[in-house]
Amino acid sequence: MPDTQDAHSHLAQAIITGDEAAGIAMSRELLSAGEPATDIVATMAAAMTQLGARFQRNEVFLPDIIVAADAFEQVMALVDPHLRAQGAVSASRGRVALGVVAGDIHDIGKSIVKIMLEAAGFAVLDLGNDVPATRFVEAAGDADILGISALMSTTMPVMEEVVTLLEQARLRESTKVLVGGAPVSADFARAIGADGYGADAVEGVKLARSWMGEGAQ
């Protein structure tokens, strides 16, 4: 087995290249060697952040992100019981309820944001797609941040409906609203009263981290 530092490096490379088999094998070796699960997740998170930055620079493309996210999820399934044993899960950076608005089932962007948030240490409640405004508001009771995605201009009004319903439910002040998706813009986010707009997953995670009192990395 490579030394621990090399193993972390190989794990990061496995995530970046979307090699789930190598990622799982390397994680098993690290766990067997007594490496904390939190360190394994940190390595994977750094790899996803690095890949996200390269995606922003048009150096890698959607298929690269999709396979990396898949590898991340598969390794996380292996590591998750160890995290729980360490008691690390409850020490998350914050709780995010994430979904694609009603009338919209394009969930690639949402799925990538979910992976990036988990990689950054957030506990994510995935509401799925085609989510009605009322469901977002229900979830707000257990979340610090609502992440709302829309991939079609015709479904964007649901975002404003969520903000309105949050105000009516007196949950607006305790819940940050983060919006994103291809047709969404910073101007639109301001107009509907959202707290922030993520042009992509990396920007969204940066905002979420800043809201939780951490500097964006």
């Binding site: 493309f61 959607l62 919209d104 690639i108 079609m152 201009s153 015709t154 964007m156 047709p183 107009a191």
Partner: protein, 352 residues
């Protein structure tokens, strides 16, 4: 000069009397006629679809139109998928037909005349041609090779296939290209004047340059050949930062396929596009949909449209579009502002 002459003159690189306007509005006309999406697109009501297309052409002075109310799901049901039709929204694919790849083995026919809503769509093109065809260019809106494959398989699954099951991805793109060729022939028969290859997932906004070269370009070459057999020019519209030096060769590859026009979307510099490729192809493009046309306000739409015209109209060979297709719930006042600006500022001076 008719709108059709104006558009085709610009598409051939020439100078018409003013910059042609082509909004490629796929569902916007439904708003103008107060029609439900489910009513028109669900069972496909050709008469209502024609009404919507004509209303949009007249309201916005368009020189070219897509000859039907179009949605990405037109091929989906025929192959066993499911499309939802929100009453006032845009149809969307709720279940991709080849989400289970094994279902590819069950494909029997790609003939549009036998497939789902397509017979009614073809009839719509015929009726639009009858009503507008003397004055307005009719565009056959056809999805690009990878774009259609993403619709039929689900884009997330196709993206995974590209990396882990490349043979399957290639098979899906092959099928998608064959479907596109069939659509070219059927819509040419219905009176289309050009083929518009709508290819949101065919550029570096989605796939890598390698996948573009290996999958999109061979497919585009076949679509162009099918269009040429029908004497139709082709406009290509993939998404990505094509004026970025790293991706410019992707435009050259598309031009080498024999397309007449290239529509540049978000993140592209129209003046640079004109400088780089204006002598080889018609440049199409205009205001950004998510950043300008949807949020407005009207003053910003006017300012950005004027800037696009100043940068790209030159002495011809330019068509004003939005950065991508337009759909219902786009504020009509914003589109009016774009069109009014084009009509006022897009005039070519005689002898210029």
């Amino acid at each position: 000069m008719t709108g059709k002459q104006r558009f085709l003159t610009a598409l051939n690189g020439g100078r018409p009397d003013r910059v042609p306007i082509f909004l490629r509005d796929l569902t916007l006309g439904l708003d103008l006629c107060d029609l439900d999406t489910s009513q028109v697109s669900g069972g496909y009501d050709s008469v209502a679809a024609v009404q919507a297309v004509v209303a949009s052409q007249r309201r916005f002075h368009q020189d070219a139109v897509v000859g039907c109310i179009h949605d990405l799901g037109l091929d989906v049901e025929a192959f066993g998928g499911h499309v939802e039709f929100p009453r006032r929204g845009i149809p969307f694919v709720a279940r991709a037909p080849f989400a289970d790849a094994d279902r590819l083995r069950e494909v029997r026919s790609v003939d549009p005349a036998e497939n789902g809503r397509w017979p009614a769509v073809i009839e719509t093109y015929r009726l639009v041609k009858q009503q507008l065809g003397d004055d307005v260019a009719i565009a056959a809106n056809i999805e690009g090779p990878v774009t259609r494959a993403g619709v039929l398989r689900g884009l997330d699954k196709l993206a995974m296939d590209l990396m882990r099951r490349p043979a399957l991805a290639a098979e899906l793109v092959e099928l998608s290209t064959t479907i596109a060729e069939a659509h070219v022939r059927s819509l040419a028969g219905a009176g289309a004047d050009l083929v518009f290859v709508a290819a949101a997932s065919d550029g570096p906004a989605a796939i890598s340059p390698t996948h573009y070269a290996e999958l999109t370009i061979p497919g585009l070459r076949r679509i162009v050949a099918a269009a040429r057999d029908c004497d139709l020019p082709v406009v290509f519209h993939p998404h990505g930062p094509f004026t970025d030096p790293r991706f410019r060769e992707l435009v050259d590859m598309a031009l080498d396929c024999g397309i007449q026009g290239f529509q540049f979307g978000e993140g592209c510099d129209l003046s640079l596009a004109r400088e780089l490729w204006g002598d080889r192809a018609c440049i199409l493009g205009g205001p950004d949909v998510p950043e300008v046309l949807l949020p407005g306000p009207v003053e910003k739409v006017r300012r950005v449209t004027a800037d696009c015209l100043d940068r790209a109209m030159g002495t011809g060979g330019f068509v004003l579009m939005a950065s991508c297709s337009l759909h219902r719930n786009t504020p009509s006042a914003h589109i009016d502002a774009m069109v009014e600006t084009a009509l006022a500022r897009g005039q070519y001076t005689q002898g210029a």
